[in-house]
């Protein structure tokens, strides 16, 4: 398979270097890129016009990214490595750098800044007043004209972000500065107003709502463009490798529950549903295919008929499913709440894999919340009710494992049988209260097993007021569960 375009040959070597760097960065970001996939990518780019940035992106994605949850990470690395290439993004000499760059020039910049008005298409707008600029932005949003929006994004970054070379601040700072000047919330209201005026005020509320959704979507697209533009300029300033390193973020399955940002939390919530579905299928299958039951005589005889009466293919009955009962005891105080929420989510999504699921939450008091989950199909709502209605505060609302366990033991320990698996979720930071670890010991004797899931990194265990060691001596297993990957592997082993 050779390519017909000789042009590729000439530009091969630098492209190869770039691509190698790109793949190394993908691996650094945690994507599993194998050698064959690497070679496939090299093959693939021979067949596409190299100046077409979109085609390049999809060709690389098709050969290198085989898991959709890695797409975001791929996109960022791609932007960093190839942001300066591609037709619609092509920059004229000098347009890249801000006016501000001129003033404190440090010579070794690869692109020399040039004066006002000498840039490319983006630069040709620079004579505008801020009012004209706002007007154009408004029109671009109104018509949903994406190339115009891209230009406006570029222009507004140039104008408002005030980027300076070598300044050690992150992209979010510039993003904030740019957005502050654009007042997009105000723009949204104006857009809505105009829509209403145009339809002579007889827009139904339903239509208004749809229009609003649409404008919001466009504004989000604009924000993304602005972000990309800032990133592009930062890459030009700091170099590809350095920038890729700063932008490197954990993959969704590796995001730490305790330190997730709001955006990461939202992504986690989205990721948990497909995960539970996957787990449920896997567990059900495992159970069906697991150990065989006793010989099914009738079935074997019937099957033997096609072998002339020789029972060559013995048939077995399906084994009786042995499903465990689960009791989840979750700490929902401050920092570990997010972790408890995901675990409860997972356990309930898997509830068909257990005979019974009961859940308890505590801070320093303890309350059973099983019914919240049973009354509704919507787990998110149930968790909301847990957080707002459950009676979990006894004295001061600081975690007290000792007391919470005591309440559990007094009220529910009688229900713990040899078929029960007890899951305790928490960091075991007891605020120096009495541990009451004898309860765990007693539960371990009654229950099938007692597992403790701790969302803290192992190195923090037993430091400060953490008394995980005190409890863990009685547990059947104690696991560090800081991210979805670890949670998944635990749930897989549980059922």
């Amino acid at each position: 398979m050779t390519t017909h375009e000789p042009a590729v040959e000439t530009s091969e070597a630098p492209l190869l270097d770039l691509l190698t760097g790109f793949i190394v960065e993908l691996r650094n970001a945690g994507l599993p890129v194998s050698l064959t996939e690497n070679l496939d990518a090299m093959q693939a780019i021979k067949h596409i016009p190299l100046e077409d940035r979109t085609a390049l992106k999809y060709a690389l994605a098709a050969t290198l990214v085989k898991n959709h949850s890695h797409w975001r990470a791929f996109e960022i690395v791609f932007d960093v490595y190839f942001s300066l290439r591609g037709e619609e993004y092509s920059l004229e000499e000098g347009e890249l750098l801000d006016d501000a760059f001129d003033e404190d020039e440090d010579g070794d910049q690869e692109n020399q800044g040039q004066g006002e008005g000498q840039g490319g298409e983006g630069g040709s707008n620079s004579g505008m007043t801020p009012e004209e600029m706002a007007e154009m932005l408004y029109n671009a949003l109104m018509q949903g004209d994406s190339s115009m929006m891209r230009q406006m994004a570029r222009e507004s970054v140039r104008r408002y972000a005030g980027m300076e070379p070598g300044r050690p601040v992150g992209g979010t700072y510039y993003l904030y500065r740019t957005l502050r000047n654009l007042d997009l919330d105000g723009v949204l209201e104006k857009l809505m107003q105009q829509q209403q005026d145009e339809s002579d005020g007889d827009m139904s509320q339903f239509e208004q709502r749809l229009a609003r959704d649409e404008f919001k979507d466009r504004i989000d697209a604009l924000k993304k463009e602005i972000e990309a533009e800032i990133r592009r300029r930062l890459v030009a300033d700091r170099g590809v490798e350095a920038m890729a390193k700063t932008l490197r973020k954990p993959l969704p399955e590796d995001v730490d529950f305790m330190h997730a940002s709001r955006e990461e939390m939202a992504n986690l919530r989205k990721a948990i549903y497909p995960l539970t579905r996957k787990l449920a299928v896997r567990l059900a299958r495992k159970r069906r295919r697991g150990r065989k039951g006793p010989l099914d005589f009738r079935h074997t005889i019937r099957a033997s008929l096609s072998y002339g009466g020789v029972p060559a293919d013995p048939k077995f009955r399906n084994p009786r499913p042995k499903k465990p009962e689960i009791m989840v005891i979750a700490d929902i105080s401050g920092s570990v709440a997010a972790f408890a929420r995901f675990t409860l989510h997972l356990v309930y999504a898997l509830s068909s894999q257990f005979t019974q699921v009961r859940s308890f939450v505590f801070i320093d008091g303890l309350d059973e919340v099983t019914e919240y989950f049973e009354q509704t199909e919507d787990i998110t709502e149930a968790i909301h009710r847990v957080n707002s209605e459950a009676d979990v505060v006894w004295v001061d609302g600081h975690s007290d494992y000792g007391h919470a366990l005591e309440v559990f033991w007094n009220n529910y320990a009688k229900d713990v049988t040899a078929k029960t698996s007890v899951l305790i979720l928490g960091d075991a930071r007891n605020n120096y209260h009495a541990p009451n670890s004898w309860i765990i010991q007693d539960l371990a004797e009654r229950a099938r097993n007692v597992f403790w899931l701790n969302p803290e990194p192992k190195s923090y265990w037993d430091t400060g007021d953490s008394i995980i060691g005190e409890y863990s001596q009685y547990c059947d297993g104690i696991f560090e569960v800081r991210n979805l990957r670890q949670l998944e592997s635990f749930a897989d082993n549980l059922a």
Partner: protein, 294 residues
């Protein structure tokens, strides 16, 4: 070897001629699959046109579509080939009187004549152009996936008694997956990967326009807008493209040319199939109207 398509644009145009609206990534990957002679693994939510893509590619290239529907318990005999045991038995019995040499007979009963070809082998041996669709590959057990590996990377099937059957021509191969489990690395490595997500609003509108005759542009645009809004909610199951099309058809049949909150509420059960989802969507449609009634 000749390529089926000269460039991405051609793929796009041809797909459009069979009423499949492709975006950059879809057309780009179909083009690459042809050039690199690699199978395409299509993943994505249900009802986004994964299977349809394979069908449309078959239609536009004038190829025969060979389809292997995967299910739990699929095995070699159903996917690759099987010896026609009964016919072999007949052959042996018929021979009793003639007393042919055993070696000869053995060679005879393990020949082409007694081989039942199943979809994978059929695709490999086809003389005419074919498109092979391996549907819902995530339904087979992880061990069964190994069956596919030889055919996906080498385009050949090894039959112990017959030797290796190599493809006369490289077929276009599509695998679809609903992502109910992680496919093995070995399988993914051999494929190009395409994630088919819900289309954006403009594309969905175009899809509705091509798929639903007699629909007005205004209604199609509205349909696309409403569906987009609904997909932003946290639901158990988001409306798929096929459900969007069904909904649009229903609206046309009911003679509705303009959607308001009331018609949307009445017909939303075509888009959503879970009671909780319907409640949520209805609540959302009406609640929002109140909020913005200023």
């Amino acid at each position: 070897m000749d390529h089926r398509f000269s460039d991405v644009q051609q793929v796009r145009d041809q797909l459009e001629s069979v009423h499949y609206l492709a975006d950059d990534s879809i057309a780009g990957i179909v083009h690459l699959a042809d050039r690199l002679e690699k199978p395409v693994l299509i993943e994505g939510p249900a009802g986004t046109g994964k299977t349809q893509l394979a069908k449309s590619v078959a239609e536009m290239t004038g190829a025969r579509l060979i389809r292997l529907q995967c299910y739990e318990g699929l095995d070699e005999a159903k996917a690759l080939y099987e010896w026609n045991y009964k016919k072999q038995l007949l052959r042996i019995q018929a021979d009793r009187s003639h007393e042919t040499d055993w070696n000869e007979l053995e060679e005879d009963i393990f020949s082409d004549e007694f081989l039942l070809t199943r979809p994978l082998l059929e695709a490999i041996r086809a003389e005419d152009p074919v498109v092979l669709l391996i549907d819902e590959v995530d339904r087979v057990e992880i061990e069964t996936e190994a069956l596919l590996l030889e055919i996906l990377s080498e385009y050949q099937v090894s039959i112990p008694e017959l030797g290796t059957v190599t493809a006369n021509q490289i077929p276009l191969v599509f695998l679809t997956s609903n992502n109910t489990r992680e496919l093995s690395e070995a399988l993914k490595r051999r494929c190009l990967y395409l994630h088919l997500d819900y289309p954006d609003m403009d594309r969905e509108k175009q899809i509705v326009l091509t798929r639903v005759p007699d629909i007005t542009e205004h209604l199609a645009a509205q349909v696309a807008r409403v569906v987009r809004s609904i997909r932003q909610l946290e639901l158990k199951k988001h409306p798929s493209v096929s459900e969007t099309i069904d909904w649009a058809r229903t609206l046309v049949l009911l003679g509705i040319d303009h959607i308001d909150a009331e018609t949307a509420t009445d017909t939303v059960n075509i888009l959503l199939k879970y009671r909780t989802d319907i409640e949520k969507a209805v609540k959302d449609m009406n609640a929002n109207a109140d909020t913005y009634s200023g």
